[in-house]
């Protein structure tokens, strides 16, 4: 049985959930929250069933190529978002995880969804352990990223009425850079990917799917959101005040997401990867670009934890570090496959 309709259903659920969460925040309607969560859960469950079907059909977990990686990560991000907010409702975070999942699925649709048999090196139970645990860690980094973005967004909203919110000009610039720069960086990254795909005959005309399916809708949605935020800035300001915890709590939530994700990523992505590499290639570390970038991701989050725990730094600086960490994570996952030749290139 083809699992694609289930994935499409789950995407529709995420879109509806995003609309529901947005309406809940902007219209200040409490009654929208629970149904939106229910719809998001339906989307996650549909995606999990679809992943299970794909696993059953292929005989291996859906972690072996770019399409499968993106779809699995997209599902894990939505799931982690829902679990993370189970005790403390955070509609803005939940809306953010829906958007991230939709975008990841959109990018996944550019790649071939054909089930291909596993190459010999991937036929190991370490594939399950290494990739799945690393993905759970990465989905928690995604949560931290969304929270960090919201932290900066909240600061800008609060700063529009009280400039003392910012500790200095650098703080203000950093917040604006994150809030305005991240969507632009996403569009630029996608444009680069489209240009890369268009230059490779293997991908055929799939780059146009990326342009019309991801880039254009993202730009339109972003512009729409920016205009609406500007027009209804008063309501948004109130909504942010009501639906987001204070800056300090948000900062602690970012730390919590990273503190949960860091050990999982380190054990799954690095240590299990080392054990597997030792079994498959005869050495646990070979400075392969993918390995090196996984180490770089680990080092960036290590810096975050060191400065936050030992030096007590928090606020915009650590939020920016968390955002940088997630960008590095995404480059490790996808950028390396396209831009740098590596032993892990089968992932692409």
């Amino acid at each position: 049985m083809n699992e694609t309709p289930l994935f499409v259903f789950s995407m529709v659920c995420y879109i509806l959930a995003f609309v529901g969460f947005s309406a809940h925040i902007s219209l200040n309607r409490e009654s929208f929250y629970t149904p939106s969560r229910g719809v998001a859960w339906a989307g996650v469950l549909a995606a999990l069933v679809a992943l299970g079907m794909r696993w059953h059909g292929a005989g291996h977990p859906p972690l072996s190529n770019m399409y499968e990686s993106l779809v699995t990560l997209s599902t894990l991000i939505a799931l982690t978002g829902l679990v993370f907010t189970a005790k403390q409702p955070l509609p803005m975070l939940e809306a953010g995880t829906c958007v991230t999942s939709i975008l990841m699925f959109g990018i996944a649709s550019v790649f071939s969804s054909d089930v291909k048999p596993l190459i010999p090196a991937l036929q190991s139970y370490w594939l399950h352990l290494h990739v799945s645990l690393a993905f759970v860690g990465e989905s928690l980094f995604a949560i931290a990223f969304i929270l960090s973005y919201l932290y900066c967004f909240q600061k800008i909203m609060a700063g529009s009425t009280d400039n003392k919110i910012f500790t200095g000009m650098l703080d203000k610039i950093a917040c604006y850079l994150v809030v305005v720069g991240m969507p632009l960086a996403f569009v630029a990254g996608m444009a680069l990917l489209a240009s890369h795909l268009s230059s490779h005959p293997y991908y055929g005309g799939r780059w146009s799917g990326l342009v019309w399916g991801v880039i254009v809708p993202s730009i339109v949605t972003m512009l729409l959101l920016m205009v609406l935020t500007w027009i209804y800035r008063g309501a948004v300001h109130k909504g942010v005040g009501k639906w987001l915890p204070d800056a300090d709590s948000l900062d602690k939530l970012i730390y919590r997401a990273i503190a949960l994700g860091y050990p999982l990523f380190t054990v799954g992505g690095l240590i299990f990867g080392m054990v597997w590499a030792n079994k498959a290639w005869g050495r646990y570390w070979g400075w392969d670009p993918k390995e090196t970038w996984a180490l770089i991701t680990f080092l960036v989050y290590s810096i975050y934890l060191h400065v936050r725990l030992a030096r007590g730094w928090n606020g915009t600086l650590t939020a920016c570090l968390s955002i940088f960490g997630f960008l590095v994570t995404m480059f490790t996952l996808f950028g390396v496959n396209f831009l740098i030749s590596s032993l892990h290139s089968y992932g692409g």
Binding site: Q123, A259, P263, V267, M274, G282, T292, I303, H306, R311
Partner: protein, 507 residues
């Protein structure tokens, strides 16, 4: 000395070192590694010299990177020593060092909501009275969490140490063999000599690119020769030999029965040491085998064709041009050729040698190149030598349906047609020895345990202050935000408060 100690203990310097390491590692993935000096100078006309002089052409063995690793190791060691003192203090004498003022400053704390139960001393593991007469009681849980940071740093230090041991004492090479081959495996010292010779040879190439007359080149040449000699000696008296008995490839089958990609490749080998012969062992991808000082991993395979069968036809016109007389009635004849082995057939006045064979050729930039191992588009190049050893002619052999091309490339009185080829397999095995590995694995275990203890185990300190005037204050603290202890605080409050029977009855 104190300043140096301060620098290494400082978190700031650790963060700076991690940041530099991150930057260097990033550069290592962006700058192509281990190319020859000329390639860098050609690809990076402006920065090529800088890349080479800083050793960034081999980033992870370069002096800046290795220095950074060494400094990070020292910083980690300093951190462990400092941490140990603090952790020990917390573990051994937490109550003795705490003051009522400090406890009252904890965010999760308040006055006891009712009267204190009489049996409160029995609910606390430790109680002491301070100078002001305040009784301070403490219960702790999850103390292992305090050791988490220590474990993480010791683990990291072991991983770094194991890695450095591997860099200096480890070896890694590839051995290849076909069915029936007996391949010598040199002792460790010989393989290390070969590794060092390669390193020096690369350095020498780089130096030569800058200054061909550099006096260091002579001594380097001598060093390389002596190391090569050592390796040759190792090959002559190997630690043991490997006999390749079998290599087979398994393919995935599509529903229509066609092969759709390689599923696995496997070798069956014996290890022979002197007169001792081991049992036959199977080496598969993801299933390495250890013998002697080495571990063998099935890393690659190669399919090649040593024996090719061709059909030879007599070409009358060419014969007239070369003046060679042969009996046309003998043709066509079938001939078996072995790669690079000369054959002298009765019907030819010269020796024939198959100098090259390509199973799947393409003409790219006017050159013949094989693009796969499969016999999709085979071509064999046959050269003829006269009695004096001079080239008498060359010819390409193609399959029957492509022989229209052969006329253009034959300068012999014969036309060769490809009939068939016998595939042989070659097994490629990664052979590695790394004495640092056990240290690295131990480090990984400690690191993982440390992270679990630090991030997932909650350390709790439940405090009770009983003032001489009877006032009671409770607080809970630990390695989580104060809000996380709200429930514990309420529980402690309930546990220590006398239940008002009337009130509870009414409730």
């Amino acid at each position: 000395m104190r300043t140096i100690h301060k620098i290494f203990v400082s978190l700031k310097s650790a963060v700076i070192l991690i940041a530099i390491l991150t930057l260097l590692a990033t550069l290592g993935t962006l700058v192509p590694q281990n190319l020859d000096a000329v390639d860098y100078l050609k690809s990076y006309p402006r920065t090529g010299h800088l890349i080479l002089s800083l050793g960034f052409d081999d980033m992870y063995r370069s002096a800046p990177f290795q220095t950074c690793l060494w400094l990070l190791s020292i910083s980690t060691l300093a951190c462990i020593m400092t941490r140990w003192k603090n952790t020990w203090r917390k573990l051994s004498a937490r109550l003795e060092r705490a003051s009522a003022k400090e406890i009252r400053a904890y965010e999760a704390g308040h006055q006891l909501s009712g009267s204190l139960i009489e049996s409160w001393p029995s609910t606390f593991a430790n109680v002491r009275t301070d100078e002001a007469g305040v009784q301070i009681a403490l219960n702790t849980s999850g103390s292992s969490s305090l050791l988490g940071g220590m474990f993480i740093h010791i683990g990291l230090l072991l991983i770094l140490a194991g890695g450095l041991i591997g860099v200096y004492l480890g070896v890694e090479t590839v051995i290849r063999g076909s069915k029936g081959d007996l391949v010598p495996v040199p002792p460790l010292a010989a393989v290390r000599a070969a590794r060092d010779a390669d390193k020096i040879a690369r350095m020498a190439r780089n130096i030569r690119a800058f200054s061909p007359e550099d006096p260091r080149l002579n001594s380097m040449r001598e060093q390389i020769e002596s190391l090569h000699e050592k390796y040759k000696e190792g090959l002559a008296s190997p630690a043991f030999r490997i006999r390749f008995n079998e290599l087979w490839i398994e393919n995935y089958q599509s529903p229509d029965g066609r092969s759709s990609g390689v599923k696995s490749w496997n070798s069956r080998v014996n290890f022979i040491e002197g007169t001792q012969e081991s049992d036959q062992v199977l080496v598969m991808v993801n299933q390495p085998v250890s013998y002697g000082d080495y571990t063998f991993y099935q890393s690659s395979w190669n399919k090649f064709y040593r024996k090719v069968t061709v059909k030879a036809d007599y070409v009358e016109n060419a014969s007239a041009a070369t003046g060679i007389v042969v009996d046309p009635g003998l043709f066509p004849v079938t001939l078996e050729l072995t790669l690079k082995e000369p054959v002298k057939p009765d019907w030819a006045p010269f020796e024939l040698v198959m100098v090259d064979f390509m199973p799947d050729f393409r003409i790219i930039n006017e050159r013949f190149i094989s693009v796969s191992h499969e016999l999709n588009n085979p071509a064999a190049m046959i050269a003829a030598y006269d009695e004096a050893g001079n080239i008498a002619g060359r010819a390409w052999a193609f399959p029957e349906d492509r022989m229209s091309m052969a006329g253009h490339v034959t300068s012999m009185p014969f036309r060769f047609t490809f009939v068939g080829a016998e595939a042989e397999y070659e097994s490629g095995m990664q052979m590695a020895h790394d004495p640092g590995k056990p240290v690295v694995w131990l480090g990984c275990i400690l690191f993982s345990l440390g992270m679990i203890m630090s991030f997932y185990v909650t350390y709790r300190e439940c405090w009770l202050l009983v003032y001489p005037d009877g006032a009671c204050y409770i607080a809970v603290t630990g390695n989580r935000p104060a809000r996380a202890f709200a429930e514990d605080l309420a529980q402690l409050d309930g546990q220590l408060t006398v239940i008002d029977k009337d009130q509870s009855h009414h409730e």
